[in-house]
């Protein structure tokens, strides 16, 4: 072997670090644990029982009451947990179904491609509120099927965002250079291996920023379903408190803060994930 490898300075540093598991890195592990802990605390709070009552009744004329605000944290927290959990579950559907829809839409067969395109465009171009109501009525109309409000929320939200995610996946798949497919053919890889080992791993990092935005958007869309379906989510809780106490500054202020509490760490996690899966494109 005559070709001597020119050793470059970059060649030394990253070799060991690259393949370290993410959970071995405190900078990643700690925030993940904190978020999980937050969810666990919220989950352990006693389940909501219909109405939200608080013993503290502040006078109507009073300005912002700190004591009152503290007293409604628990019911709002339970509502937030319901909303956040439904969003996370819905988004699991989004991630998987979105990819499936994207693949169907790229199918070689028109019989597959066209219905997929129709479903995607139809769902994307109708309001999610209409879809909540429509689906609820559909479930009621079908004998033997009964879904709770939260389950309907999860399904509709998940499918709705899956149609958006499918377009993001499609763009991500299209962004994988032609040379990658050709290298896969030259190595005689099967179509399955080409998708799972070459295309999807390269498409997903390109799609992550968009999917992250959709996750936050889904979180904000989730409470819309509250009043319609009767999901005891965070806005539902805030509304109930206003009904009981005739005060709306504290519950809605805290509800807004509650959204930040979930969406900021979520956005941050997505950014960390992006950084983790990023690779230098060549």
């Amino acid at each position: 072997m005559t070709a001597a490898p020119p050793s470059t300075s970059i060649s030394e540093a990253p070799a060991g670090g690259r393949h370290r598991r993410w959970y071995r890195d405190p900078g990643r592990l700690v925030p993940v644990l904190l978020v999980l802990l937050g969810f666990a605390v919220l989950a352990s709070v006693e389940a909501p029982r219909g109405r939200f009552r608080t013993d503290v009744i502040a006078g109507r004329d009073e300005a912002f009451s700190f004591e009152f605000a503290v007293s409604i944290i628990a019911p709002l927290g339970r509502g937030l947990y319901t909303t956040a959990r439904a969003t996370v579950l819905a988004f699991t559907i989004t991630l998987v179904l979105g990819l499936v829809l994207a693949l169907l839409r790229r199918s070689g067969s028109r019989l597959v491609r066209w219905p997929a395109a129709f479903v995607i465009e139809f769902i994307r171009s109708t309001p999610i509120l209409v879809q909540f109501i429509f689906f609820q009525q559909l479930v009621r109309a079908i004998d033997g099927v009964s879904l709770g409000a939260v389950q309907i929320l999860i399904l509709v939200l998940g499918v709705h965002y899956a149609t958006y995610a499918s377009e993001a996946y499609r763009a991500g798949i299209d962004s994988v250079p032609k040379g990658q497919w050709e290298a896969a053919i030259a190595l005689n890889l099967s179509p399955l291996t080409t998708w799972t080992r070459i295309v999807i791993p390269q498409a997903v990092p390109n799609v992550l920023p968009t999917l992250g935005n959709y996750l936050v958007a889904a979180l904000k869309d989730a409470p819309i379903a509250g009043p319609v379906l009767g999901v005891p989510g965070i806005l539902f809780a805030a509304t109930a408190i206003r009904g009981d106490t005739f005060r709306q500054v504290e519950p809605f202020l805290l509800a807004g803060a509650g959204f930040l509490l979930v969406s900021l760490p979520a956005a941050w996690l997505v950014r960390r994930l992006e950084a983790r899966v990023a690779y230098e494109r060549t």
């Binding site: 005559t2 070709a3 001597a4 020119p6 060649s11 990658q180 290298a183 053919i185 005689n188 890889l189």
Partner: protein, 274 residues
């Protein structure tokens, strides 16, 4: 997709097994009105090293791509090691368009190295090389790893096994790509201008790897290159290609030193000027 399947040729012409490593018969390929391969006939013997030269746009890349099944020919037949690439042979010797399974099976004899490497950027050098042995050839991880390390050693990159393509120079990338192709142990290897995307000072290290493969002698090599010194040294045969046809075919000595056709002279004059 074999909807526009090549016209079958009489089977007698191709039934002599164990003959050519690669044989093109009347291969035709057009992109729209642009006819790129015209009725091309070509024989390459096992172990032969054939360098293809010719002006840009003459169809050199297309020959390799058709052989690698990256483009489907419009007509003609191609055999690899005596087996039809795009046709399946009936018992009576008749030919019909081949299915994906058949094409995949014949394709396993062919490997290709690309001008722009086409390494998988999300995998380390070693993972790039291990992928096909594990996924296609059913090797165990540890077998594939041993093979990968051996091949990296062979191309002089043993200590870069865990680096991703983004951490490697162009010459290093191309050597990894060559190792990746070698890992599938193809009988026929195609090289499409594998040094032309490289900085001049990195060309030598890649050519030296190619020389090593050529010296081992068992691999049939089809190389498109503008490196005439390398061609003279390594090639058994040089094909001068022009407008989708073979203009001249001979030893490196004949073609590079003593070309008969005016267009070959013009082309070589232009190449050596640079």
């Amino acid at each position: 997709m074999p909807t526009n399947a090549p016209e079958p040729q009489p089977a007698s012409e191709v039934s002599d097994k164990g003959a050519a490593a690669v044989r093109f018969r009347g291969v035709h390929k057009a992109f729209g009105d642009n006819v790129v391969l015209r009725d091309l006939d070509l024989n390459v013997e096992p172990g032969e090293r054939v360098v293809i030269i010719g002006p840009s746009g003459s169809g050199k890349t297309t020959i390799l791509r058709v052989l690698m099944t990256l483009e489907r020919p419009d007509g003609g037949t191609i055999t690899v090691g005596g087996r039809h690439l795009y046709h399946e042979e009936g018992r009576d010797g008749s030919l019909r368009p081949a299915g994906e399974k058949h094409i995949r099976s014949v394709r396993s004899d062919i490997g290709m190295v690309f001008q722009h490497f086409n390494l998988f950027p999300h995998m380390s050098a070693l993972e790039n090389i291990m992928l096909a042995p594990v996924q296609v050839h059913g090797k165990s991880k540890s077998e594939a790893r041993a093979l990968g390390l051996e091949l990296l050693e062979k191309v002089g990159l043993a200590e870069h096994a865990n680096h991703t393509p983004g951490e490697l120079s162009g010459g290093q990338k191309q050597r990894v790509a060559i190792a990746r192709s070698l890992a599938t142990d193809p009988a026929v290897m195609l090289f499409d201008e594998v040094t032309s995307a490289l900085d001049p000072e990195l060309v030598g290290e890649v050519l030296s790897v190619l020389r090593d493969i050529a010296e081992e002698g068992s691999t049939t090599m089809l190389l498109v290159t503008h490196e005439m010194g390398f061609a003279r040294e390594v090639a058994d045969r040089v094909l001068m290609f022009d407008q989708g046809q073979i203009l001249e075919d001979g030893t490196p000595e004949e073609i590079l030193r003593n070309p008969q056709e005016q267009r070959t002279k013009d082309f070589l004059g232009a190449v050596f000027e640079h």
